[in-house]
């Protein structure tokens, strides 16, 4: 399908997801607005891996849920392979499931302990109208082979597998319907260190084989650098920097991106980076600092940062940063 190759697969435009929290007795009295995602614009092309980086509470998981069609956006629009999701557009769940799937962080919690692997993989096929038994069997066996599991594993239950194998099952389940976009939410951080490489290699192999697009959510910048084509950095609901992986890692422009890179414990990291660490902790999304959200922690803070929120500005060749002094 060469004609679709250069079209965008996912486009998110000025997406906002706000929650009302803390209202008394079911009313909105005293309620506050939590801006989990606050004006995010990004796109993903077919076969591309977008790394999404940020600390807990920055809104990356909410963004993922919105793209999956699992939370209703407050405003803005999302288009996934032609499917429109918005405030007034309820997505077609079945069509969405065939386009976007998710791999979760914890392979212990995200598999049904009472279902065999076979059933975990066969159920989605049946729900989507594949009722020919031989075809179901064939597709389940083929998928198990793709993720590096043996055919006899199909009859077993999740507790019989190690963490790495469970994550393989999680990946198989995500891929069984042949989606084009897979959201990987911290897919290796719950795994033993010696197992992580297996899963990272598998994800990259499958991406090439099946021309999958990934949104790779991770706090491990080493993994993000290794896997991503482009990287987006989020802070308190907003994108603060996006660009090609090489630009982001070799020439980071936003002080928050630099702070993230400087925080990586690596004895061989150049000493110049170490001075760029951030102070303090991420603020609450219920009560974000005015102006640039990052200013209370920023080593480059000026008066302007408190009063005025910086917009994303281009730094050249697809590299944008939201900082007055980048």
């Amino acid at each position: 399908m060469p004609e679709v190759m250069d079209k965008t697969l996912l486009s998110v435009e000025d997406l906002k997801v706000h929650y009302e929290v803390g209202g008394r007795f079911g009313t909105r009295i005293g309620a506050k607005t939590l801006r989990a995602v606050d004006g995010v614009t990004l796109d993903v092309k077919p076969g591309e891996c977008l790394g999404l980086v940020g600390e807990s509470g920055c809104g990356k998981s909410t963004l993922a849920l919105a793209i999956m069609g699992l939370v209703t956006p407050t405003s803005g629009r999302i288009n996934v392979a032609g499917q429109e999701i918005g405030k007034s557009h309820k997505p077609d769940r079945e069509a969405m499931a065939r386009t976007v799937q998710m791999v979760f962080q914890d392979p212990y919690a995200s598999l049904n302990p009472r279902q065999t692997v076979h059933r975990t993989l066969a159920d989605p096929l049946r729900l989507h109208g594949v009722d020919n038994k031989t075809e179901v069997e064939h597709r389940v066996a083929e998928m198990l082979a793709k993720v590096g599991l043996r055919p006899e594993h199909a009859g077993r239950y999740p507790h019989e597998f190690s963490g790495g194998q469970r994550q393989r099952i999680g990946i198989a389940r995500a891929l069984i319907l042949g989606p084009r976009l897979v959201i990987c939410d911290e897919p290796v951080s719950a795994l033993d260190v010696s197992i992580r490489a297996q899963i990272i290699n598998l994800l990259l192999d499958l991406k090439d084989q099946l021309n999958l697009a990934y949104i790779m959510i991770s706090h491990d910048l080493g993994v993000v650098e290794h896997m991503s084509d482009r990287v987006a950095v989020m802070y308190l609901g907003r994108l603060v920097e996006t660009g090609q992986w090489k630009e982001i890692f070799e020439n980071p422009r936003h002080p928050y991106t630099r702070a993230l890179i400087a925080s990586i414990p690596d004895p061989f990291l150049p000493a110049t980076l170490a001075s760029q660490k951030a102070r303090g902790e991420i603020a609450s999304a219920l009560n974000p600092p005015p102006g640039c959200h990052f200013h209370p922690r920023c080593p480059m803070k000026q008066d302007r940062c408190v009063g005025e929120a910086p917009a994303l500005r281009t730094m050249g060749s697809g590299h944008d940063a939201a900082c007055h002094f980048a």
């Binding site: 490489a197 290699n201 080493g222 290794h226 890179i261 690596d266 061989f268």
Partner: protein
């Protein structure tokens, strides 16, 4: 007395279960830590690093027990057979502890100032009033902003990073000789992790407190600790200066671990290389393989590895060691 190490662990064995079902979860582990030194134990879940720390603090509980022949000596004094009361007086006063998840380690029903002050009352015989004043100082030392107000806060009112600072304040309240930090930053975000690690390292250096740090993150340990021991399946497989381990890892497991992690900057330098996989999984305690415990996963395996247990070979002029037939 000054020449002897602060902590000497010798021939440590920790059994799990009893009778026929008894297995050694940790075996033949020996290391020593000098005064003010920083030492790291690195390994994956189930390798025995955390229970090694628990055994030093005398906190092994059923089904875990200290094997016979194990010796733990703190400052010349054997503590492996100390009574519960003796251990209680050691913990907090001479050995401080920080745990992974500060929310479960702190008492949710008590203000954090009181939990710090308790240390001064229990171990230094202060009155509560004086102890509370000292608690404010402690909070200031761990760089908690407006400590006079924060002493009255309950743990749930603090962020994860602030809670971990409180844990550090409690652990270092009585200026212990040694701080044991078991995955102190695993529950925290990376930028906060960097701050907490710096804080821990700086305070301990100031007070001359030795650190025993436990983590699965070799990079993090190397940043804090001068020496490191890599554990696999209940044994130390390589023990050396952190810089040496990174420069020239000698055990196939250490080499595999380092090669399996995508290091920042590697892709810029060499392009995207396929990550080196360590095949297989960590063995269960009840099914440690015969011979070298890493042999089913090892690329350099030969016949001897499946038959004979490797002994330790000295490295770096006796400063380090490795446990491998082929190193």
């Amino acid at each position: 007395m000054t020449d002897s190490p602060l902590l000497a662990v010798d021939n440590l064995r920790i059994d799990i279960g009893g009778g026929k079902e008894r297995h050694a979860a940790v075996e033949d582990v020996s290391f020593s830590i000098a005064r003010g030194e920083t030492f790291g134990l690195v390994g994956e879940s189930g390798c025995g690093k955390s229970i090694t720390a628990l055994s030093i603090m005398g906190l092994l509980r059923h089904p875990l027990s200290l094997g016979s022949g194990s010796s733990i000596v703190l400052d010349g004094q054997p503590i492996h057979n100390a009574s519960a009361a003796e251990m209680r007086s050691l913990r907090g006063r001479r050995i401080g502890m920080i745990f992974q998840e500060p929310m479960t380690a702190l008492n949710p029903l008590s203000p954090v100032g009181r939990q710090i002050a308790e240390m001064f009352v229990l171990h230094m015989g202060m009155g509560w009033k004086e102890a509370t004043e000292r608690a404010v100082d402690s909070l200031r030392q761990v760089r908690v902003p407006s400590p006079e107000r924060r002493v009255h806060d309950y743990p749930h009112q603090l962020s994860g990073g602030m809670r971990q600072r409180v844990m550090i304040a409690i652990a270092l309240a009585c200026s212990p000789d040694m701080l044991i930090a078991d995955e102190p930053t695993t529950a925290l975000d990376v930028t906060v992790q960097a701050e907490i690690v710096d804080l821990m390292r700086d305070l301990c250096a100031e007070k001359g407190t030795a650190i025993l740090m436990i983590s699965h993150d070799l990079g993090l340990v190397a940043q804090v600790c001068r020496r490191v021991a890599v554990m696999y399946a209940g044994r130390i497989v390589e023990q050396r200066a952190s810089a040496e381990v990174f420069k020239d890892p000698r055990h196939p497991y250490t080499r595999g671990l380092l090669a399996s992690l995508p290091r920042l900057g590697a892709r810029s330098q060499h392009g995207r290389q396929r990550l080196n996989e360590i095949s297989g999984v960590v063995p269960a305690v009840s099914a440690f393989p015969r011979g070298c415990r890493f042999n089913p996963r090892c690329g350099a395996r030969t016949d001897i590895c499946t038959i004979e247990d490797p002994q330790t070979t000295p490295l770096d002029g006796g400063q380090g060691l490795v446990r491998c037939h082929h190193a």
